[in-house]
């Protein structure tokens, strides 16, 4: 039964992907391409859909991992301050004239920021030779507030247009997606997903408690560290691809748990697939709603995601991770 459901799930995701590639305010007929359309399809649509998919996958899987590691249904990769740290790093980088990488400077600065924040959260969450869920969560929330506040401070004292717009970009925008960032980002996402999937059995045990996991023969702290690293890798890659896109990390694991159950071996890959498809769909809506204007995908995900999340909440008796 579950395999059938999983199959339907994959087919639905593939259909959304195809839709995102060929539909829009102007349809592209894949069997009858004009020169301009070929250009648009390969240079603009395809990288955009791939970036949306990668980001969505990274965020969905990161959410599933983090909710498990922190044993908290509210957790999502951004609650730890990774995105606000990345935005801050991008802003600081631009202010100090960090332009070594040309047009890649913003994503590179964002990636460095996201990685540094992950290490910082890890350092604050570290005590007695291991990572502790409550510590991680509280440290992340504290750092998140700090970075958001500093970012707001910079924005309000700065009259630099470029900086304002670059930060605007950090709030979820896929319109600039092109091929350059895809190879390194997909490497990070694949490695992160691989680690998470390989250790998903351990995550199942961790959710039930450290002592339980220990009694099953898992090295609790080592497993937690692996999971945290996988999450950090994927979230950092995602932030540097297209900024902060909210709600996917929180929402996808809950939807998947509702449809396919809470087993991490299914939850992690399925949350990734769902996240990828969902972001492609949100981006499709964002660019089709008011053409030729484009709405930022980050807003679209929240606007369609939040009501569905609330609906699920009503239908569920018990919230679990």
């Amino acid at each position: 039964m579950r395999t059938v459901r999983f199959g339907i799930f994959i087919i639905a995701a593939a259909m959304i992907l195809a839709l995102a590639l060929f539909a829009g305010p102007r349809m592209i007929n894949p069997f009858h391409l004009s020169g301009t359309e070929r250009e648009i399809l390969f240079a603009i649509r395809l990288p955009r859909v791939v970036v949306a998919m990668l980001m969505g996958m990274a965020l969905g899987a990161s959410g599933a991992i983090l909710q498990g590691v922190l044993r908290n249904p509210l957790a999502d990769p951004y609650i730890l301050g990774i995105s606000s740290g990345a935005s801050l790093a991008a802003a600081l980088g631009l202010m100090s004239g960090f332009y070594f990488f040309g047009s890649l400077s913003v994503p590179v600065a964002a990636f460095i920021g996201a990685t540094l924040v992950s290490l910082l959260v890890g350092a604050f969450g570290w005590k007695r030779g291991g990572l502790w869920p409550e510590r991680l969560l509280l440290a992340g929330i504290g750092l998140n507030f700090l970075f958001s506040a500093v970012l707001m401070l910079l924005m309000s004292v700065s009259s630099d247009e470029g900086l304002r717009r670059a930060v605007l970009w950090m709030f979820g925008d896929l319109s600039m997606a092109d091929w350059t960032l895809i190879p390194p980002a997909s490497a990070f996402v694949v490695v992160g997903l691989g680690i998470a999937f390989a250790r998903s059995k351990a995550l199942n045990a961790l959710i039930l408690g450290d002592e339980f996991a220990h009694s099953l023969g898992f090295a609790v702290q080592r497993e937690r560290l692996f999971m945290f690293a996988a999450m950090a890798l994927m979230t950092s890659a995602s932030v540097s691809l297209g900024g902060t896109i909210g709600f996917i990390g929180l929402l996808m694991p809950h939807i998947v748990r509702f449809l396919l159950g809470a087993d991490s071996r299914v939850l992690i890959p399925a949350s990734a697939v769902a996240g990828g498809a969902f972001l492609c769909l949100a981006d499709l809506i964002g660019r089709s709603l008011m053409p030729p204007m484009e709405l930022p995908s980050g807003t679209v995900t929240a606007v369609i995601g939040a009501p569905y999340f609330l609906y699920l909440l009503r239908r569920k008796d018990v919230l679990s991770v």
């Binding site: 247009e161 470029g162 717009r165 925008d173 319109s175 484009e294």
Partner: protein, 288 residues
């Protein structure tokens, strides 16, 4: 005793005369403010162009033209000016615009009995009258009249020169895209001074169908609409050529990029003020 009957009479007459003229004095004082705070870069430029630079007590942190404007005390940004900073400057007139200043700010100032003037012109065609109206309030009616006339003449000159082209079939008109910011792509849409200038010159702004003034524009759509000319506006604080390299790469199939018709221009058109005619002239660079 110096207070003789005669003296009393004289004093009385003097007092009566003063009383009679006092409304005139007061009006005279009120009509030519001495300490003006300007809450927008465009009004700052107009005030300087009217020769009132030394009466400006404060400007926003965005006011960077002319050079003297940078040295004026700052009262904060356009959308978030500081009420305290404005009050400390003891202005007898605060000049604001409907294009960027919060409406509530004017209400606050008025409730504090501070005189305000709101500059409402937002389109190119409204600018000359806007300058005249403001000139009367700030006590420089002649100067504002001549500045307004100068701008009106400029507009009429281009209108006449391009009358033939503007009535021509749209297929023969140059298709233009005005990039405000390349990443993400934000362009000048309908209702902007840039759009007015493009229309005045007889070109066609491809972003005119967008629903907002500064839309985040679809790159796909730019490629489809294939503009003949691309203008890239100046940004403060960074080299716009660096930032636009990537977008121009992506727009490689567009005629403007293929034929080298990409023009980097100044910020003259960004502000509805004395520099607009210069800005329109810059756009004609694409005809050479």
């Amino acid at each position: 005793m110096w207070l003789t009957k005669n003296n009393m009479k004289r004093l009385f007459i003097i007092i009566v005369i003063c009383g009679l003229f006092s409304p005139v004095f007061a009006k005279e004082l009120a009509s030519s403010p001495r300490r003006i705070v300007s809450l927008a870069p465009s009004t700052t430029e107009i005030l300087f162009a009217l020769g009132l630079g030394d009466r400006i007590a404060g400007v926003t942190s965005f006011c960077d033209y002319p050079e003297e404007a940078r040295k004026k005390p700052k009262i904060g940004g356009m959308s978030n000016p500081s009420l305290e900073a404005v009050i400390t400057m003891k202005p007898d007139l605060v000049v604001m615009t409907t294009d960027g200043n919060p409406k509530e700010f004017e209400a606050r100032l008025r409730s504090l009995k501070i005189r305000t003037y709101v500059f409402t012109a937002r389109r190119l065609a409204e600018l000359p009258q806007g300058i005249r109206d403001m000139g009367v309030i700030v006590g420089a009616p002649e100067k504002s009249d001549s500045l307004a006339q100068e701008i009106q003449d400029g507009i009429d000159r281009y209108k006449k020169r391009n009358a033939a082209r503007r009535t021509g079939r749209s297929a023969t008109r140059k298709k233009v895209l005005f990039i405000i910011w390349p990443e993400p792509l934000i362009v000048a849409g309908p209702g902007t001074v840039m759009d007015d200038a493009i229309g005045l010159l007889g070109y066609e702004n491809i972003a005119v169908s967008a629903k907002t003034s500064y839309p985040k524009y679809s790159i796909e759509e730019v490629i489809r609409q294939a503009p003949d000319v691309i203008f890239v506006g100046k940004a403060s604080g960074m080299d716009i050529r660096d930032v636009s390299r990537k977008i121009l790469n992506r727009l490689a199939p567009v005629p403007a990029v293929r034929n080298g018709s990409v023009f980097y221009i100044s910020d003259n058109l960004y502000r509805l003020g004395p520099r607009v005619i210069k800005g329109i002239e810059e756009l004609t660079a694409c005809e050479r």
